[in-house]
């Protein structure tokens, strides 16, 4: 059963990614990246990850594009032009090797390959079955995010706090 809608989305996604690479000026690259993030949000939603689609659309497309454009608005026009740089050895050597290792590693992940299904059977089933009994929240993702793995989310908020403090340290050298 091939899901043509998913294939179309994936092709669109890859074209926007190639578009980001090929484009000449930085600002258009950033805007195509925003479009790439929105497409990624649609792919998340299509794969059944609604929470992730929501956050990707708001955070991935919204906030990071604002940050990119804020950094770029101060650059003079001539700085945002991109010169074609020769591809270094690392890319020529690294890419095919990396591509081979990636294809080698994802081979068993296909559903009809060897019965490699533990990802969705081991801990995940326990979350689905017991999360409502324990936390009374129908949205299992929020229950797992905020209760079972609450410490991860605490450190996650710590990462955001560190980012805010680091930006203050880097940019606010003169007293306000």
């Amino acid at each position: 059963m091939m899901d043509w809608f998913e294939i179309a989305l994936v092709i669109l996604l890859i074209t926007t990614a190639v578009g980001v690479i090929r484009v000449k000026t930085l600002i258009s690259a950033v805007l195509i990246l925003a479009c790439y993030s929105f497409l990624m949000a649609v792919v998340w939603a299509q794969l059944g990850a609604v929470d992730v689609a929501f956050v990707e659309a708001v955070v991935g497309a919204g906030l990071s594009t604002v940050l990119f454009l804020l950094t770029l608005f101060r650059a003079r026009a001539k700085d945002t032009q991109l010169r074609r740089t020769p591809t270094p050895l690392v890319a020529l050597l690294g890419l095919p090797l990396l591509g081979f290792v990636l294809l080698y590693a994802i081979a068993p992940l296909y559903p009809d390959g060897q019965p490699l299904r533990p990802a969705s059977t081991h801990v995940a089933d326990a979350y689905l079955q017991e999360s409502y009994k324990a936390t009374k929240t129908p949205n299992v993702v929020t229950a797992v995010l905020m209760d079972y793995r609450a410490f991860d989310t605490l450190i996650e908020t710590g990462v955001i706090f560190t980012a805010g403090i680091a930006c203050a340290l880097l940019l606010r050298s003169h007293s306000e």
Partner: protein
């Protein structure tokens, strides 16, 4: 600072949109338990609504001044989160074990669901403040460039 936008259409649309998006942010934050959304998305929408206020309404407007005061409340969201986690330690439970919150008469499930709501508020507050603070750091740098250009 980032100056106000001069066109009337943008300013009036902004005046309409900002309260709407803040309301939507709170809805997303508290609806996170029953549907998609939650602390992360709600916090960013709240942060960007204040950013819209700063961009559109100019420095004197009340939401913009509020945004500047908010910017200094860096650690508040994390304090809420660690506070709730720490409160669970009192009853002898492990860190972040909401069923240990000493609320009389509530059984474990209700305590855990309350814990989840409180921590989501903490996460949303932290993200909103940090988004604003990063944008102001980048923006503040922007005005210096313009000043001595």
């Amino acid at each position: 600072m980032i100056e106000a936008h001069d066109s009337l259409i943008v300013r009036s649309a902004g005046k309409l949109l900002i309260p709407l998006s803040q309301l939507f942010a709170l809805y997303v934050l508290f609806f996170g338990q029953y549907g998609p959304g939650g602390g992360f998305a709600g916090g960013v929408i709240l942060g960007t609504s204040f950013l819209l206020a700063v961009l559109v309404l100019g420095p004197q407007a009340p939401p913009c001044r509020l945004a500047h005061q908010l910017e200094h409340g860096d650690g508040v969201g994390l304090m809420i989160f660690v506070g709730v986690g720490g409160l669970c330690l009192i009853g002898g439970g492990t860190f972040l074990d909401y069923s240990n919150l000493q609320i009389p008469g509530w059984n474990d499930e209700e305590r855990r669901s309350l814990g989840i709501v409180l921590t989501q508020i903490g996460v949303a507050a932290d993200i909103a403040v940090t988004a604003l603070s990063i944008v102001f750091s980048l923006g503040q740098h922007h005005s210096q460039e313009a000043s001595h250009e």
